[in-house]
């Protein structure tokens, strides 16, 4: 028993047992608050009954917790069981092996995704590689063709960099209209982490490239391999061969023990379970490279390679999963979101309350790094009226996030990949949040 809380406990027991006295107390409290000169510093009215969570001792406060050896690898609180990756049959190629899982970005905090929530894209299931049997072969137009073990690789000096990875199919179901009333399913094919590994340039400078080594093939050791051609110029710029993800070994879903990081470029170029880097004077035109990762245009011709994830943004709070239904008219709320660009660094974000007719500048916050998620924020007093909330980002390359009409008038609606048009949320007078689109409805 907390003696100092005797009075409150007394009130509490009265309020539970004697209804009329509880009502009396509540009325008195409201009256007193508004009558006091200090009323303005108090939270707006509604002191109802005392909260049991404060008045009663909580179960975890009156007994021993877990011993330190309970979870030798920590796990999230069981109350967080809904903060999970989610899947949908629509995103699979017929099964759960050549498929994706979506990152719960509506629950994401800051600019780093916890390893267990990082989105997944596999072409033949998640491979489980024995790190002792893992080898990296570097061959072709290099002066020294070598094989590295994991131990070998880790002898190179390492760097740690924060980069997002985005699947170019992020948001692809929405080319022809809004389909998912969920931020996770709309934009969850991306995540971000602090990656640790060696700059590929360090290895290549050491081995020496032939003069006509212009293209590099990166291939995985899993059953699908997913080989891809990457220009050597990129390899020497900012590509990394990484083994670390947010301070620990890569997760199997992210390519344990080693993957490639190709900052800002399509997720599929960031080869998981990496086993081979070959150098050549010509690109390869690998399997998904010709059959899938191309962008079909209105002309019937396709852009052959489209490496960069363009400038993009989305408001993450509110969102369909995190509406404003708990807010009252006049409440102050932070509008928050993520902006990112594979072309460089986010310079700014504008937000609109009327579906893109008028815009104001939001504030960036936290670390602003190249090819990384960037947080933006705008503190707002909601008058309880319906809104059409939208965000529009721009980067230091000079790219500005397009409207849906600007994007589709350039490339049509059959590209499948690289949808970066402005996202609009409809806020109803009840505070519900819905995924809508502002676009011209064309007649066939």
């Amino acid at each position: 028993m907390k003696n100092s809380k005797a009075l409150q406990n007394d009130v509490k027991s009265n309020s539970v047992e004697v209804t009329s006295r509880r009502d009396f107390f509540r009325k008195t409290a409201i009256y007193s608050a508004s009558a006091l000169s200090a009323a303005s510093i108090l939270s707006p009215v509604s002191v109802k009954a005392d909260e049991a969570a404060i008045i009663n001792e909580v179960p975890w406060g009156i007994k021993l917790g877990d011993p330190v050896d309970k979870n030798l690898y920590g796990i999230p609180s069981p109350y967080e069981h809904n903060n999970i990756r989610r899947t949908h049959d629509l995103f699979s190629s017929g099964d759960a092996y050549a498929s994706v899982s979506m990152c719960p970005i509506h629950e994401s905090e800051g600019i780093i995704t916890p390893n267990g929530l990082f989105f997944t894209r596999d072409h033949g299931g998640t491979a489980h590689v024995d790190p002792n049997e893992w080898r990296l072969m570097i061959h072709g137009k290099v002066k020294k063709e070598i094989v590295l073990t994991l131990e070998d690789l880790k002898r190179y000096p390492s760097e740690s960099r924060i980069y997002f990875i985005e699947c170019p199919a992020n948001g692809s179901p929405e080319w022809r209209g809004p389909q998912f009333n969920s931020l996770q399913f709309m934009k969850g094919l991306m995540s971000a982490a602090s990656w640790t590994g060696v700059m590929l340039k360090t290895i290549l400078d050491d081995l020496g490239l032939e003069k006509d080594a212009v293209w590099m093939l990166a291939e995985g050791s899993d059953n699908a391999s997913n080989p891809r051609s990457i220009p050597v110029e990129k390899a020497l710029d900012d590509v990394m061969v990484v083994w670390g993800q947010n301070g620990e070994a890569l997760r199997p879903e992210q390519g344990y023990p080693v993957r490639l990081i190709v900052p800002g470029w399509e997720g599929n170029l960031n080869t998981k379970w990496l086993r081979r880097l070959e150098f050549s004077d010509k690109p390869w035109h690998s399997k998904e490279e010709t059959s899938k990762y191309t962008m079909l245009q209105k002309s019937g011709k396709a852009i052959r390679y489209f490496w960069v994830n363009e400038v993009n943004s989305v408001i993450t709070s509110p969102c369909p999963e995190k509406p404003w239904t708990h807010l009252k008219k006049g409440d102050i709320v932070e509008i928050e979101g993520l902006a990112w660009s594979g072309h460089g660094t986010i310079k700014g974000v504008d937000i609109s309350f009327d579906g893109g007719d008028n815009w104001i500048e939001a504030k960036l916050k936290g670390l602003v790094l190249p090819k990384s998620w960037t947080r933006f924020s705008y503190v707002y007093r909601w008058d309880g009226k319906p809104l059409l909330l939208a965000s529009r980002s721009y980067d230091d390359f000079g790219n500005i996030q397009p409207t849906i009409d600007q994007e589709t008038s350039a490339i049509g609606v059959e590209s499948v990949y690289h949808r970066n048009a402005i996202v609009t949320w409809e806020i109803t007078s009840k505070g519900e949040c819905n995924n809508v689109q502002i676009r011209k409805h064309k007649k066939a």
């Binding site: 069981p78 109350y79 809904n82 989610r86 899947t87 949908h88 190629s93 017929g94 099964d95 759960a96 509506h106 072969m137 020294k144 070598i146 094989v147 740690s160 960099r161 022809r176 209209g177 998912f180 050491d206 212009v214 059953n223 990129k234 710029d237 004077d281 010509k282 399997k287 010709t290 059959s291 962008m295 011709k301 396709a302 852009i303 052959r304 489209f306 363009e310 995190k322 660094t345 009327d354 893109g356 007719d357 008028n358 815009w359 790094l369 230091d396 390359f397 500005i400 996030q401 397009p402 600007q406 994007e407 409809e426 819905n434 809508v436 689109q437 502002i438 676009r439 064309k442 007649k443």
Partner: protein, 395 residues
């Protein structure tokens, strides 16, 4: 601003008088470099890459790793280029040439007919008859190059166009080399890298034939035998359907073409930073809402409540479950493919009606589009175990 040679000289001088490379880095940064994607390149400047500090010590000759052997490269380097580089001449195993009965290297080649047999045994269950596609799995044949110009309009629009571009091997893929490499490396889906080079040629030949691809002006009949030489002469209908050109005489020109494309956002769509009265129409009339929220069919309900989860006792992993999950699920986990799906009580009740011995027999010897043992090399015992698992999980 320094030219590169000057910079090098200066760098040498600075190093020789014991200064750090920091000054050089900052001097170089004044020249504005663009990255290969036409965007921003962040040089290491004053010991920093953007906001990150970098160890700028120059180290040479790490001497890490060991030399590769020839067989190791042969074993792993199975890639195939449009010009025929990498196409197999012989059947190979573990990096070495396979010898035929006559003791000579076995030539890699395969007929349309053999391809058809292999297709019906190992591919049809997912990709459908003649490559027509299964629900979810890629369609392999049909469509035309002309169809690529179709733009399906928004279903919410007036008179939406129901047609869509059809992207298959025959209508879309620019090179036949991709098909060979794809099959050899990743197919059949549940057990890739199991086909010989000859079988890969056969399947390639069959898929080219069902797509109406010709060899020297002739259709590919059953007797047609495909090998490396003939592969190199196959021209795909949509070979000119992609831009920019990247296979250029000067290898660097191809990359420059890509840089030029990606440098121009107008090509793929860009916005403007209009701040006031940007929409000249009634916004409400432009508003498009969700008709059918697909979130409702998510495999996990979209919830954000913070409560304690219901604990399910999943029990021990049942015998056969592992086999099912590794192999059988490809067909028996997808209702679109016609095979009885795990958990489908009605479908399995009908199967079991035949008597368990008959079910074992069908599983082991094949039935309908299911090849013997589902195309696996499981023992009869393992087959029975997984059949039991599927039946017991579907009661």
């Amino acid at each position: 601003m320094f030219k590169l040679e000057n910079t090098k000289k200066l760098k040498f001088t600075l190093l020789s008088i014991g200064l750090s490379t920091l000054l050089v880095s900052s001097a170089m940064a004044t020249s504005k470099e663009t990255s290969v994607d036409g965007a921003v390149k962040y040089p290491v400047k004053d010991g920093k890459y953007n906001s990150y500090y970098v160890n700028t010590q120059e180290v040479k000759d790490f001497n890490i790793g060991r030399a590769v052997t020839k067989n190791e490269i042969t074993a792993w380097n199975v890639d195939v280029k449009p010009d025929g580089t990498g196409l197999a001449e012989f059947d190979m195993k573990n990096g070495e040439v396979v010898l035929g009965d006559d003791g000579k290297p076995k030539k890699a080649e395969g007929s349309v007919e053999l391809g058809n047999e292999l297709y019906d045994a190992q591919c049809v269950m997912c990709h459908g008859d003649f490559g027509a596609g299964g629900k979810g799995y890629p369609r392999l044949a049909g469509g035309t190059k002309e169809s690529l110009k179709i733009q399906r309009l928004n279903p919410a629009d007036e008179n939406p166009n129901p047609d869509t571009p059809i992207r298959t091997i025959g209508s879309y893929w620019p090179y036949a080399s991709t098909l060979y490499w794809y099959i050899q490396d990743s197919m059949p889906f549940p057990h890739p890298k199991s086909l010989t080079n000859s079988e890969t040629y056969a399947l390639t030949a069959y898929l080219l034939s069902v797509n109406g691809i010709q060899y020297e002006g002739e259709d590919l009949e059953d007797e047609f035998v495909l090998d490396k030489e003939k592969m190199m002469k196959i021209v795909m209908p949509n070979h000119d359907g992609f831009y920019p050109e990247v296979d250029t005489k000067d290898p660097k020109q191809g990359v420059k073409n890509m840089t030029a494309l990606l440098s121009d956002p107008k090509i793929y769509g860009t916005g403007t930073r209009c701040m006031k009265d940007c929409i000249k129409e009634d916004t409400q009339k432009l508003l498009l809402k969700i008709e059918n929220d697909l979130t409702a069919n998510a495999n996990q309900p979209v919830l954000t409540v913070r409560d304690l989860p219901k604990i399910e006792d999943k029990g021990a992993v049942l015998a056969g479950q592992k086999t099912y999950e590794e192999t059988c699920v490809t067909c028996h986990g997808n209702p679109a493919l016609g095979a009885p799906v795990l958990g489908d009580k009605a479908a399995w009740a009908k199967v079991v009606e035949k008597g368990i011995d008959k079910v074992y027999h069908n599983g082991i010897n094949g039935i309908n589009s299911m090849p013997p043992k589902g195309g696996t090399e499981l023992t009869d015992e393992k087959m029975k175990e997984v059949i039991d698992y599927m039946i017991n999980s579907s009661k």
